[in-house]
């Protein structure tokens, strides 16, 4: 096993490895055997994994641009053909700030990040700083030569929501052929490729066919994503989100996908409440195998195209956000992690979850479900995720 890097934490350390690629949280004793010195972090009793915030993000999502010509109807970033694109020097400064924070991996997104001609150079710069770079793309603009340059990425995820009409139905944009061409070119170049699949009410019945399709295309991973009411996605969220029967069936579908497909199956943080409510797993296993719910402000930091920090990519400054209009400078990222009021709100909420989350056995991993969904559907983000089966049942239970 090759250890890439270690980082001391109050509980011990996080160990980044390859073969397998993983982040392993270890106790102080094992960390010490690995040569980690926790210093003041290790004073007092270990809190175990129950820490509200890690010493820095483990993962950062960096918007390389807000430019994208696709015009997907549900674009969470509200990207446009003329969206803002930060200068390369600004992106490099942000990467330096993230590296200084101890971040392990950086996922470039957008907009359509792959349209930046200098994206491979930025990824190489990230690697030179000790960061593991990945990127998500729709496949727009991919060529054989460009795919070769994308070998600098540890993995490229291509958005693929379903075969032909299914894809078009989810995105309002006929891009399946571009995604499939990009997957083929990247695979030919030797780049590990995953598929990002957003689940909507219409596409969910075709999920197993989609998984078989992207596996046949050569994808090594299927990343399932819950639809988010963010950006343009807010407009039609209520009619496109999974219905209650689909949410209730999610755990069984997930198990079937895992059993029948060779590719790795991943769920995003917002889907953990659906899995937890399915009875298909235990809180202990979810925790032991690092299946994460909302990690915004705990191990995750997002960096917008304008340089401002955010707890996650979907959190937008606007009518419901208290996100400060911080200057687009890299030093703000360090300040944001340690002092930002919105990140503090996330941490405070997760430390004091209301019922029915407070008594949920999955609370340590789930951390209350998706704040984006809660904020869009309810009056405040600081409330239980209303689509969680447990929360749904709680709301319908007669008051005692």
């Amino acid at each position: 096993m090759k250890v890439l890097r270690t980082r001391a934490e109050r509980f011990g350390a996080i160990v980044a490895t390859e073969a397998p690629p993983a982040l392993i949280s270890v106790t102080r004793a094992l960390a010490q055997r690995l040569g980690v010195d926790g210093g003041a972090l290790w004073e007092g009793a270990s809190p175990g994994l129950d820490v509200a915030v890690l010493t820095g993000p483990t993962e950062a999502h960096v918007s390389a641009t807000e430019r994208c010509p696709a015009g997907c109807t549900g674009c969470y970033a509200d990207a446009t053909p003329t969206g803002h694109e930060p200068a390369a020097d600004d992106v490099r400064a942000r990467l330096e700030a993230l590296a200084a924070l101890g971040v392990f991996s950086v996922a470039f997104g957008g907009g359509e990040a792959a349209l930046r001609e200098d994206l491979p150079e930025l990824a190489a710069y990230a690697r030179s700083l000790g960061l593991v770079p990945t990127v998500t793309t729709s496949g727009l603009g991919m060529t054989a030569a460009r795919a070769e340059r994308f070998r600098v990425f540890a993995q490229v995820n291509v958005s693929h929501d379903g075969v032909a009409e299914i894809y078009r139905g989810v995105r309002g944009y006929d891009g399946a052929h571009l995604a499939e061409r990009a997957i083929a070119l990247l695979r030919a170049a030797g780049v590990p490729v995953g598929a990002n699949t957003v689940m909507t009410r219409e596409s969910f019945p075709h999920l197993e066919a989609t998984a078989a399709h992207v596996e046949a295309l050569g994808c090594v991973e299927l990343q399932l994503l819950r639809l988010k009411p963010s950006g343009r996605g807010r407009l039609e969220y209520l009619t496109r989100r999974l219905d209650e029967a689909q949410i209730d069936a999610f755990g069984d579908v997930l198990a079937r996908l895992s059993e029948t497909r060779r590719l790795a199956v991943r769920i995003d943080c917002a889907l953990l409440p659906f899995l937890a409510g399915s009875g298909r797993t235990t809180p202990e296993d979810v925790r032991a195998y690092g299946v994460m719910g909302c990690e915004a402000g705990r191990s995750l930091l997002a960096v917008r195209a304008d340089g401002r920090a955010a707890p996650c990519s979907f959190w937008q400054s606007g009518e419901r956000s208290a996100l400060p209009e911080a200057p687009a400078e890299s030093a703000s990222l360090d300040r944001a992690w340690h002092d930002d009021a919105v990140l503090a709100q996330f941490r405070d909420y997760q430390e004091t979850l209301p019922e029915p989350c407070a008594s949920c056995t999955f609370r340590a991993s789930c951390r209350g479900g998706c704040r984006i969904v809660a904020g869009a559907i309810g009056a405040t983000p600081w409330a239980p995720d209303p689509e969680c089966p447990r929360v749904r049942a709680h709301a319908r239970a007669p008051a005692l």
Binding site: R5, G12, A16, A19, V191, F314
Partner: protein
């Protein structure tokens, strides 16, 4: 072993243990988050390991502890590792092809 267990073994590159496995708390691994987190908008987590039997699942954690700690006496077929010389930062530029090769995928 089930198909999922085979898949998890291939994915994690961890050999299943052949005898009773130690309690992960005793060997020092609190949790493991597999994969490269290649999504740009939300945290992704591999869930396949949740659907293998408890014994195999426990073996994954325990085997990782063994690999990290270099305790070759605790499981079959686990070689001594280079974890003891772990760098505090990784600065070498590697390509995805290099990583795929080290994963046994290329």
């Amino acid at each position: 072993m089930s198909d999922v267990a085979d898949k998890v073994q291939a994915m994690t590159n961890v050999q299943p243990m052949t005898r009773a496995t130690p309690d992960p708390d005793d060997v020092g691994v609190l949790s493991v988050h597999f994969g490269r987190s290649a999504n740009c908008s939300s945290i992704g987590s591999v869930i396949d390991v949740l659907f293998v039997s408890g014994v195999v699942g426990t073996a994954v954690l325990a085997s990782l502890a063994v690999l990290l700690g270099g305790r070759s006496d605790a499981s079959g077929g686990v070689a001594e590792d280079d974890a003891a010389s772990a760098p505090t930062t990784a600065t070498s530029e590697r390509t995805s092809e290099d990583e795929a090769r080290s994963d046994g995928r290329a």
